[in-house]
């Protein structure tokens, strides 16, 4: 956190000064470790073992927060009797080895049937994938679950949890993670002693957890710990996702993601969502609890925002104009299509995949197959110049004169040259005022896409084709500023939504609760409704922090409805009283008959704690007064996920797709549902039990440095940042340096099945060899900011060129935090010799396209 979010880290330092204890769990000793009370190095890719062992410790020593667990989580809920926990092979019940997918119906709660849409991997598309939940809570048929509040029933979630994690012991932690019993005990003591009524523990993670082939389950592991310890919805608790970029949260909320519509509504799927009613049916059941039952109002309002008067009840509000997805169309799947030559055009909008995405060589080879490429950026990034100075030109794999890609480079406006909102990692929207005009041809994306839309609509104005109806009927009449820039506030107003008819016609909506499914309201992103409440740009509020309470609710605006902490009803006990005076945040005011407190209550504000819904009530009305998790279909925090995940209802340990270590828990080496792309451009290093893994004996992990920004587009072109970290380097322990003759300040060549890169060497005790399963495992650290090109102030080989592409099945995020490599002293060969050098490694390891891509690990001895 100190490395990549230094200014946010001030709050950790302040907490520390007030007595908080900071434990840093990371393969590397970083700037965070330097000021932490304890650093626990572990092997990259082994976290679920550590998290599972913590869960085991919490349960077996009875350290969980029983009242919270019983009241607020699904611990007491009974699960379908057909559910079978993971077996010796390493899979849960319902697994189909052929397709690598689960039928999740056996995972369901007892008495709650699996509904048709969930859990089936749609196989029609080229890159099949399962249900796309995005950020949405998973559907339940109804909220009438069976509970055993004694937590003794063997079918209850709590007992399933206990049994599942019983084998995750301190000994296993030492064996798999390389964390000794002493360190493990200290973590156990710290988190359990600092949880309960009086205390809370917070977990903070970032892409160190998401970028794994089991990434979602890492975070689920932390969810289980925090729910068991009663740390969700409470001040000083929570699980904080430190998102990496200015508005990466915003680009998920208002998604530029293939599987989502704004507000975590799913993109319609081919075959499943022929019309609106089938679409709604797959999102929620009217019998379930919580706010997803209003998805109809959110969707219709979105369609009204997009298609205006052309969207009517008669035409399903234009739903049929939306394109359908039928599989994984995420960026890496698109890359495979590019390599196959089926993608013609590509827009890069402030993104540098030639450097920043896994398997950089495949990225560049893919772009060389395009017909046309539009790059919009502040600087002349490597993705715009790969055709003349990319590494493949040097090796002869590509020749400039043979690359038919037509490239448009359009300069972009900087953050001071346009107005608009970023959504930060706390879900807070902050409005930026415009300071100056952009220079020359530089324009904002707002300007460019508006202009592009105007052009497209002009050219299609007379088109009789049905396929052009969506574009023709699109609302695209934004007021323009004098320089032709669309008014960003008008766009934000559209996002917020308006009353379209009735007494309030034309007025801004103040809450998504006001949205209607009858076309009388519009709104481009329901979770953002309220950002323009009362006709005021709430995101532009800047009442100085020092003039406000510590929650500072009048600075910017956080979704939903300016709630700064989600699920904050859980900060009070089931009776609505704060768990403790120290930790009071939101509580029930008996006199006022309202929820009140430091923050906007994340709960129906007048629903008393004692409220119990009539049986069969769905939606928000179905929430009981002690159901704090209002977006969950049963109102409870999920220790166990009966649906919504593709790779298991509980986190379980699989080795990374590339690992030097055999999975000690199961026959199955790595996540059997992981998404992989076996092809010549994306070869995989062998892992045990496959032969050849000794050729790539080291764990490699990639990361960022304080001094740089992602693929360098906003840092390597700046002298002030470039001089602070001018060269690509690798970090190795003194022990590995001795073993491989690496000299501090010298050069090393790091090799994988994909390619070899050269880096300057930093020999440092900050990287420690770990004793894993009786042998020493070395880890190599690689910051990934550099790329090969001619325009940046500093350049160098790219760490991402080393990485292959294996994805988490739920979210299609690549495993870039743990892979394997070899490392040798000296610089790499250049030109065609580099290809021969890599080929030699492949040959020694016996790598073919199928290596590392056999989904199910065969029984021992059969390889």
């Amino acid at each position: 956190m100190a490395e990549c979010h230094p200014v946010g880290f001030q709050w950790v330092m302040e907490a520390k000064a007030r007595g908080a204890r900071v434990i840093h769990i990371d393969p590397r000793f970083t700037r965070t470790s330097a000021v932490a009370d304890m650093h626990v190095p572990l092997r990259a890719g082994s976290d679920i073992v550590l998290l599972g062992a913590l869960i085991n410790h919490i349960i077996s020593t009875q350290k969980y927060f029983r009242e919270y667990v019983v009241s607020y989580t699904n611990a007491a809920t009974l699960v379908n009797e057909d559910f079978k926990d993971v077996d010796d092979v390493g899979v849960f019940s319902g697994f189909d080895a052929q397709s690598g997918t689960y039928d999740t119906s056996t995972w369901q709660y007892l008495g709650v049937e699996e509904t048709a849409a969930a859990g089936n991997r749609s196989a029609a598309g080229k890159h099949p994938t399962g249900q796309e939940l995005g950020g949405r809570g998973s559907k339940l048929e109804h909220g009438r679950v069976q509970r055993d509040e004694t937590l003794q029933d063997p079918r209850c979630v709590f007992q399933i949890l206990r049994r599942h994690y019983a084998r995750y012991t301190a000994e296993l932690v030492e064996q798999v993670c390389g964390v000794g019993p002493e360190g493990f005990a200290k973590i156990c003591d710290a988190i359990t002693a600092n949880s309960g009524r009086e205390r809370t523990t917070a977990w903070v993670y970032s892409v160190g957890w998401t970028q794994h082939s089991v990434g979602v389950q890492y975070i689920r592991g932390a969810c289980i710990i925090q729910l068991l310890l009663g740390n969700i919805g409470r001040p000083g608790g929570g699980i904080m996702a430190l998102r990496g970029h200015a508005s990466i949260q915003g680009s998920t909320d208002i998604p530029t993601l293939f599987n989502l519509l704004p507000g975590y509504l799913p993109m319609p799927k081919a075959g499943e969502h022929e019309d609106l009613s089938s679409y709604f049916e797959s999102i929620y059941s009217p019998d379930q609890k919580g706010f997803w039952t209003s998805a109809e109002a959110y969707t219709v309002s979105l369609l009204k925002a997009w298609f205006g008067d052309m969207a009517t009840a008669h035409n399903d509000y234009g739903f049929h104009w939306l394109p359908r997805v039928n599989g994984d169309h995420s960026t890496y799947s698109t890359l495979m299509d590019m390599l196959d030559g089926t993608v013609e055009g590509y827009f890069l909008l402030g993104q540098n995949p030639a450097v920043g995405s896994s398997n950089g060589k495949a990225q560049r080879l893919g772009m060389a197959q395009l017909k046309w490429l539009v790059v919009r950026d502040l600087n002349m990034i490597e993705s715009a110049t790969f055709w003349k100075d990319g590494p493949e030109i040097a090796t002869g794999e590509l020749r400039t004169e043979d690359i038919g890609t037509e490239v448009f480079f359009l300069p972009a406006a900087a953050h001071t040259e346009k107005k608009g909102t970023f959504t930060n990692t706390q879900r807070m929207l902050q409005w930026r005022h415009k300071a100056v005009d952009p220079p020359g041809d530089a324009r904002s994306e707002l300007h460019f896409f508006h202009q592009l839309g105007v052009e497209l609509r002009r050219k299609l104005a007379g088109s009789p084709l049905e396929r052009d109806a969506g574009l023709r009927n699109l609302t695209w009449d934004y007021p323009l500023e004098t320089d032709g820039e669309p008014d960003g506030e008008a766009v934000l107003q559209e996002i917020n939504g308006r009353h379209r008819s009735g007494a309030k016609a034309g007025q801004m909506l103040s809450s998504f609760v006001d949205m209607k499914a009858d076309g009388s309201t519009d709104g481009g992103c329901w979770i953002y409704t309220g950002v323009y409440a009362d006709g005021v740009n709430q995101a532009a509020r800047r009442r100085p922090g020092q003039e406000q309470s510590w929650v500072a609710p009048e600075w910017g605006w956080a979704w939903p409805l300016n709630r700064r902490m989600l699920y904050n009803r859980a900060s009070a006990d089931p009776d609505g009283k704060p768990w403790s005076e120290r930790k009071r945040y939101v509580w029930w005011d008996e006199a006022q008959q309202r929820w009140t407190g430091e923050d906007v209550p994340d709960f129906p504000v007048d629903k008393p704690p004692s409220f119990r819904p009539a049986p069969g009530t769905g939606g928000p009305g179905g929430l009981a007064g002690d159901d704090p998790f209002i977006m969950q279909a049963d109102g409870k925090g999920w220790l166990y996920a009966p649906s919504g995940l593709l790779d298991g209802p509980l986190p379980t340990h699989y080795e990374p797709a590339e690992s030097p270590v055999r999975n000690p828990l199961y026959r199955q080496q790595s996540n059997p549902t992981r998404e992989s792309f076996p092809r010549q451009e994306n070869l995989t290093n062998p892992s045990p039990p496959e032969p050849g893994s000794e050729v790539f004996p080291f764990v490699v992990t990639t990361y960022r440095l304080t001094e740089h920004h992602t693929a360098g587009g906003m840092s390597r072109f700046l002298p002030y940042l470039s001089e602070l970290q001018p060269e690509f380097f690798c970090e190795v322990s003194p022990e590995l340096a001795r073993e491989r003759n690496l000299v501090n300040g010298g050069w090393a060549t790091i090799v994988s099945a994909r390619t070899a890169v050269e880096a300057r060497v930093l020999v440092t005790e900050r990287l420690a060899p770990l004793r894993i399963d009786g042998r020493v495992i070395h880890q190599v650290g690689l910051p990934y900011h550099w790329g090969v090109g001619g325009s940046a102030v500093v350049s160098g080989d790219s760490a991402n060129d080393l990485l292959g592409i294996a994805l988490d099945p739920n979210v299609h995020i690549q495993e870039s935090k743990a892979a394997t490599c070899d490392i040798r002293p000296g610089r790499r060969p250049t030109g065609p010799a580099l290809l021969r050098f890599v080929e030699e490694h492949r040959r020694r390891a016996g790598i073919t396209v199928t290596t590392g891509n056999i989904r199910m690990t065969p029984p021992e001895g059969s390889l």
Partner: protein
């Protein structure tokens, strides 16, 4: 810098006649030093903004003089950042005023070995042509089972995560209406 209208004569005289006998301070001050003032004080306006780098969302104050950004620093009013910035945030003035920034459209023809110039309007016109052309050629109305697809798989987009919400909104809206589904973002990476 306060009362600094002292005479500027030969500093040696000042040494001899004033309190600064050793010529360390008051006697040796130059006219330029005496009139120093921070460029934040002489800016035409200050604009409140947000740092474009990470997701903490630190407040920034952008100082503008003669329609040029002359300084960007932390906004002490922000309850998030309390006026502080990391090295990247502190470098954001250089990000904006970077002489390495390319500010005109560059165009590379297929198989060409170098860039050429292209007017911005022409570029947008050409891009919209390319988009329509590819879209028409790669349009998928339905899958083999007759299920509605209404899309093109011939066009893709990958955005960075420094785009504004309003920008993402227009991107998603336009591409979705056009049948482009491969709309992706750093958020996936």
């Amino acid at each position: 810098m306060g009362a600094r209208n002292r005479r500027r004569s030969w500093p040696v005289l000042g040494q001899l006649t004033g309190a600064d006998r050793l010529g360390r301070g008051a006697a040796v001050e130059s006219a330029r030093t005496a009139s120093l003032s921070p460029r934040t004080a002489t800016a035409d306006r200050v604009v409140q903004s947000v740092c474009p780098y990470c997701a903490v969302g630190c407040g920034q104050r952008v100082y503008v003089k003669n329609e040029k950004v002359v300084q960007i620093e932390g906004d002490p009013d922000s309850p998030i950042s309390r006026g502080r910035l990391c090295p990247k945030g502190s470098a954001s003035e250089q990000l904006v005023n970077n002489p390495n920034r390319v500010t005109s459209v560059r165009y590379r023809r297929p198989y060409a070995t170098d860039w050429e110039d292209l007017p911005l309007d022409r570029a947008v016109d050409m891009i919209s042509d390319r988009l329509l052309d590819t879209r028409a050629r790669t349009w998928q109305e339905a899958d083999k089972d007759g299920n509605k697809l209404r899309r093109t798989m011939g066009i893709a987009s990958l955005g960075g995560a420094t785009l504004d919400n309003e920008e993402n909104y227009l991107i998603k809206k336009l591409f979705t209406a056009a049948g482009v589904v491969q709309v992706e973002n750093q958020a996936r990476i």
